[in-house]
């Protein structure tokens, strides 16, 4: 029998690729190319280090990890590596790969290595301030810890320490205390190698060497917080956390980030019932040790003054919301929903998989409808069919690791650096390793695509379909079974695009993954928060699927296909639906925010489940406060289809999850959900075995040629920047200040015809409204402009009624006339 090892199975090294060496007298075999410091870790020997980081290229700068090394000579005799005449030269174990027969003696067995390490430690400390009691890092500081384990107790240094004025801003969020810096270059190497963001570098020399920034360009990165976390001393701190807490007063809980579909592992540190900071947790399969700034800094939203703390019902006499008890609110909600007759359910991206399942079941069982849609953004029926056929309930598909193994990755309707930061970092790693080529259909070469070395197939908004169809025949790309297609949610708005993607995947054999922006979207899809999709990806149209679901639920499943988000709102406005249940939807995210507001305002009866006051709670008849992710357990499903469970962080919180509220209403309605807790909801959801029946067919929507922009207008390309507006990013001024200046990007020719220079203010307008933004240049087509969807207080949908493909006009805002001086 011949066995062909699968690609995935070839990870374990063949025995001949193992190298055997001795460390502190212990023989060990490790894969060829392993660094001595890593090999030592594997046998439990910790060699002290500062500059070494397993995810950064070795640099050998701090010299803390010196060990004594002997190598077998040609005669097999061991020869200790020597330096200046007659002296053993200890080697930096962070830069030295293992070799067959090598003998390593660490500080544990070599007095020479031990003295060398103590010497380096003493040198590192001579210029390091003794301000540990006020330093953020004190208590969790590698320098402090290793000075205790591998240093001398008393300093012999009695001279003058180097000092710097303190601190300086590397960015609005990242602060640098230069005198604490040990110049390990972890931050600069992270920025160069991992994030790819320039303008943070080592400058000057000798003892005056320091981390510096470029005066004319800011250090701007979506990932800047990682440099704070990997700083082995307290040199880099965040404006947000600086002087806020002592590490030993914090309680740390592993969790999962709720800001995008990356499923990044995080660690949440809280004190006295409040989250004070979040850090990246190490998950080699998912985010490695990196997270985005949004995942790190955007957590204050849960503690805003407008946080809802108690149920409210609308007073019949005053017309105002008034506090209500939970039983009253449940009763009022149930009564109102019963009276409303037909009710639609709108859920947003913050929902966990379990809460989403609660809504999916609540809609069908308690409200008797399939009018439910998790897509709180521009969407289409084509997308619904695509999700039903290709994504829903498929389980773990393409993974992060697969991206590193792929020969090509195609990005469609997806700007990873802004919309899926964790994914961006892994793509960049794959690109830098050299084996993965990245292609993108996009309106211009964004910074993010440049950092991925992406080949950009230019397509104006609405014209993506021909570009996608062409990819199958692109000789350079040569997409095949070794390739991966990543589709962003934005492609939903281009008629025919997702149909073309399905064809492309089928034709080339490339694997396909859908990358939504929001953390809850994939879980909501799998849980059945979509009109035509039941839990586990079961198609509503399939009688067998309905029987399956009915069996678990003990009730029949309504058969009338559900409306989508826009349809539900239109039906509510038209009176076809008498009520709405809305959870976690920011109306400004929808295709037509103005119409959505009007629909919610005019809907007969509105129940809102929310964290904080919103445009929906404003018009709701009953408002239920629900728990943010830190105050409940649950899980998200990453874009890979990986379930990412997390525990409740703030044990003391009494906030209830959406599931509990839905159960309360359902009980009052006389149609119990059958569960009241997250755990019970999860258990029931897990009862659904994977669907092995027919799936919905791929969509086959024909492309409709995009209308050219009317004379004097431009077509709008747009997506959200990572750091932008949104209720879940509220509450950290430094975080917002560290984001990009909201900028309209135009072609060089357009800039010239406007008579504008980069950085000038321009007015972007439609018949609906205007917005003023800075202007910048990119390699866009002359009739296309790009602007962030929602940044700096400007929301294109709300303020201009514009989305991707809309026609917009541009004009230069004249510079303000200099103030006229009063006459003497």
């Amino acid at each position: 029998m011949t066995v062909t090892p699968s690609k995935a199975g070839s990870n374990a090294p063949a025995p001949q690729d193992l190298v055997t060496l001795t460390i502190d007298g212990i023989e060990t075999s490790v894969p060829k190319g392993t660094l001595v410091i890593r090999a030592a870790e594997q046998i439990g020997v910790q060699i002290p280090r500062f500059c070494d980081h397993p995810l950064l290229a070795p640099v050998g700068a701090c010299r803390q990890c010196l060990v004594e090394v002997a190598m077998p000579g040609p005669d097999g005799e061991l020869r200790t590596m020597m330096g200046p005449p007659g002296r053993v030269k200890p080697q930096a174990s962070c830069t030295l790969p293992v070799a067959e027969g090598m003998q390593v003696k660490t500080q544990l067995t070599s007095p020479i290595a031990d003295k060398a390490q103590q010497g380096v430690m003493e040198q590192l400390l001579i210029n390091h301030p003794l301000d540990c009691p006020v330093c953020d890092k004190g208590g969790e500081c590698p320098l402090q810890n290793q000075a205790m384990t591998n240093g001398r107790g008393e300093s012999r240094f009695q001279e003058v320490k180097r000092t710097f004025p303190k601190p300086i801003n590397i960015s609005a969020q990242v602060l640098l205390d230069r005198e604490r810096c040990v110049l390990c270059a972890r931050c600069t190497r992270f920025s160069e190698q991992v994030a790819g963001d320039p303008f943070i570098a080592l400058v000057e020399r000798g003892a005056l060497q320091q981390v510096g920034i470029y005066e004319k360009e800011p250090y701007r990165s979506n990932f800047s917080g990682n440099v704070i976390q990997i700083c082995p001393v307290g040199a880099l701190t965040s404006a947000d956390y600086r002087f806020r807490a002592r590490p030993f007063d914090l309680v740390s809980t592993p969790s999962v980030a709720e800001h995008d579909s990356g499923g990044a592992a995080i660690r949440v540190d809280h004190r006295r019932g409040k989250v004070v900071r979040r850090l990246a947790w190490n998950d080699p399969e998912v985010n490695e040790e990196w997270i985005t700034d949004k995942d790190r800094f955007a957590f204050h939203y849960a503690n805003r003054p407008d946080r809802l703390t108690h149920p409210q019902v609308r007073d019949g006499e005053t017309g105002e919301l008034r506090p209500a008890s939970w039983p009253e609110a449940f009763a009022v909600a149930a009564r109102g929903l019963r009276a409303a007759g037909r009710v639609g359910v709108l859920t947003g991206g913050r929902l966990t998989r379990e809460d989403a399942y609660g809504y999916a079941k609540f809609a069908r069982v308690a409200l008797g409808t399939n009018d439910i849609d998790f897509r709180s953004r521009p969407a289409s029926a084509e997308e619904e069919q695509f999700l039903a056929s290709r994504v829903a309930g498929r389980g773990l598909g393409v993974t992060y690791t697969d991206l590193e193994r792929a020969n090509a990755v195609v990005l469609l309707g997806l700007e990873p650096e802004e919309e899926a930061g964790t994914l961006f970092l892994r793509l960049r790693k794959a690109y830098r390793a050299g084996g993965t080529r990245i292609f993108a259909v996009a309106p211009f070469t964004s910074n993010g695509l440049r950092k991925l070395g992406a080949t950009v197939v230019k397509a104006a908004p609405g014209e993506e379909v021909p570009a996608i169809e062409q990819l199958a025949h692109d000789g350079e790309l040569a997409l095949d079974g070794g390739g991966v297609i990543l589709v962003g949610e934005r492609l939903a708005t281009v008629p025919g695009a997702l149909s073309a993607v399905a064809v492309l995947a089928s034709q080339t054999g490339a694997r396909l993954a859908w990358v939504p922006r929001r953390a809850g979207d994939r879980g909501a899809l799998d849980a059945g928060c979509l009109g035509s999709v039941l839990p586990g990806g079961r198609p509503l149209a399939d009688a067998g699927a309905r029987v399956d679901v009915g069996a678990v639920w003990g009730s029949t499943v309504p058969t009338v296909p559900g409306r989508d988000t826009d349809g539900i709102l239109a039906a509510a406005a038209a009176g076809e639906l008498g009520g709405l249940v809305v959870a976690g939807v920011d109306l400004d995210d929808l295709a037509d925010p103005t119409a959505a507001r009007a629909a919610v305002a005019s809907a007969g009866f509105v129940v809102s489940l929310e964290l904080r006051a919103s445009a929906v709670t404003e018009h709701a008849d009953v408002v239920f406060p629900v728990a943010p992710v830190a105050e409940k357990p649950g899980s998200f499903v990453s874009w890979e289809g990986r379930v990412r469970p997390f525990e409740k962080v703030l044990e003391g919180s009494n906030a209830v999850p959406d599931v509990r509220v839905l159960a309360g209403i359902a009980d009052e309605l006389g149609t119990p959900l059958g569960f009241q807790t997250i755990e019970a909801a999860a258990a029931e959801l897990d009862e659904f075995a994977s669907w092995d029946g027919e799936r919905a067919a791929d969509p086959t929507v024909a492309a409709s040629p995009a209308a050219p922009a009317p004379a004097g207008s431009h077509r709008l390309a747009t997506w959200k920047t990572m750091i932008g507006d949104g209720p879940m990013q509220d509450g950290d001024p430094a975080y917002h200040a560290s984001g990009p200046t909201p900028t309209v990007l135009v072609s060089a020719a357009t800039l010239e015809s406007l008579g504008a220079a980069v950085g000038d203010q321009v007015e972007l307008s439609t018949d609906t409204g205007t917005a003023v933004l800075a202007v910048g240049v990119a390699d866009l087509a002359d009739d296309v402009v790009w602007a962030p969807t929602s940044s700096g207080g400007v929301n294109l949908g709300r303020d201009l009624g514009a989305g991707a493909g809309s026609a917009v006009r541009l004009s230069l805002v004249p510079a303000a006339a200099p103030a006229v001086q009063e006459a003497m």
Binding site: P58, G83, P90, A116, Q123, N127, L183, A207
Partner: protein
């Protein structure tokens, strides 16, 4: 006494305007190039190997062997880089050579580039010596005009471009990989090895980096043969070289002599220590080489001889200090130099030199105790061989060696609570007969 000088590199320095092409060619210049271009490149490498030429930049690595490391199958272009970043205190041979006879270097560059298959060569010159950079650039221009450089050199079809690059005045850029980073437009800091420059040097391509004097010696070997070269010098240190005498010596300057000559002989040639003073200590090859004393006057100045005496031949920069000099003061000045020139990349060098300066400054003022001397030695022990490159090794050499030979003088500072020397007496403008 017999004149033991063997002027080869410096032979034409007393000619009329020796820096011009015309003058250089009149004394036989560029004839070796003709000879070389008729040879196969491998034959030149073999010739240089056979001659026993060792790198004159300090380490003394065999030049021909270095050239042999260039991989033949690497598809990238090959580069020759000449290290003319002469910056070490006391070292002053390459700059006079380039000033007096830049064409000697240019001819060497062409022959060496041809030998290793390079079509672009760089001369990285220390930025402060603008006059030398100008002269070198003028020479390169003349060489282009005369067909010694550029396309189809001497009608043989061999092409070579030479770029004279001005550094920015950092001592660390004399370290070959820091030099390459600087040449590529980055900050001059040493690179991690491997890969070695021969495999992935300038622009990640195979690169040979040689000292000015090494390259300038190549034409003479081509002209006169390996046997002629080997007839000078000692068994393992062959050929002639430039010895640079400076400091308290009557006639400072360049003395070109076979390797293995002694300081006693050189001092005789140079008129002895100034003003009848006595030799106190000296560096054999710049401030990075451990000090020697008058016990070592008869040490053969070749790689082996100086090594056996506990020091290094280095750049053969013989700095002579007479008995008016305070060794603590001299060592402090050198240490200040290393502190200033440390690139900052690694801890032992960056922090270690910062500390050493402060301790030495204290000791010079006579503050401290004998325990401080032991601590100073221990500080050096924690630096020597622990740093990323050799800069820090050089920084501790004067301290270690001065404590070895002159510990009493350090103790005397502590005993007196200050320096026992008159700093004026050691200056070169001090009146004749001044004493400490």
């Amino acid at each position: 006494m017999t004149n033991v000088l063997t002027p080869v590199l410096s032979d034409n320095w007393d000619a009329d305007r020796p820096w011009t092409r015309e003058s250089y060619e009149r004394s036989g210049g560029y004839q070796a190039l003709d000879t070389a271009l008729r040879m196969q490149p491998d034959e030149i490498v073999a010739l240089v190997k056979e001659s026993g030429l060792r790198g004159r930049g300090g380490a003394g690595f065999a030049t021909g062997m270095k050239w042999g490391f260039i991989p033949k199958d690497n598809p990238n272009p090959k580069y020759l880089v000449v290290n003319a970043d002469e910056s070490e205190p006391g070292t002053c041979k390459d700059i006079p050579l380039m000033m007096a006879s830049p064409h000697t270097l240019v001819e060497g560059v062409v022959i060496s580039s041809y030998a290793i298959g390079a079509h672009t060569a760089f001369i990285y010159v220390r930025g402060e010596v603008l006059h030398v950079i100008r002269r070198l650039r003028a020479a390169v221009q003349e060489a282009y005009a005369a067909g010694h450089l550029g396309k189809n050199i001497h009608g043989t079809g061999y092409d070579l471009d030479v770029i004279v690059h001005a550094g920015a005045g950092a001592y660390i850029c004399g370290e070959e990989t820091a030099l390459l980073d600087s040449l590529e437009g980055r900050r001059g800091q040493p690179r991690l090895r491997p890969p070695f420059p021969a495999v992935a040097g300038l622009y990640a391509s195979p690169t040979v980096i040689n000292n000015v004097e090494s390259i300038a010696t190549v034409p003479s070997i081509v002209r006169n043969g390996a046997e002629w070269f080997g007839s000078m010098g000692t068994e393992k240190s062959k050929g002639m070289t430039l010895y640079s005498l400076s400091g308290h010596v009557t006639r400072p300057g360049q003395y070109e002599a076979p390797l293995g000559i002694t300081l006693r002989e050189l001092l005789d040639l140079a008129g002895g220590v100034r003003n009848g003073h006595k030799l106190k200590f000296w560096t054999p090859g710049g401030s990075s080489t451990p000090l020697l004393t008058d016990e070592h006057l008869d040490v053969p100045l070749d790689y082996e001889g100086v090594g056996a005496a506990g020091s290094m031949l280095g750049t053969k920069a013989l700095q002579i200090f007479d008995e008016t000099t305070c060794v603590v003061r001299a060592v402090l000045r050198w240490t200040e130099f290393y502190k200033h020139e440390s690139c900052g990349k690694c801890t032992p060098c960056r922090e270690g030199t910062w500390w050493l300066v402060q301790v030495l400054a204290r000791l010079e003022k006579g503050q401290g105790s004998e325990e401080d001397l032991d601590q100073l030695l221990d500080q050096c022990d924690n630096i020597l061989g622990r740093s990323f490159c050799a800069l820090a090794d050089g920084a501790v050499s004067p301290i270690d060696s001065s404590l070895k030979f002159f510990r009493d003088e350090y103790v005397e500072h502590l005993r007196q609570g200050g320096c026992p020397f008159d700093p004026m007496a050691s200056t070169l403008f001090s009146p004749v007969g001044a004493t400490a």
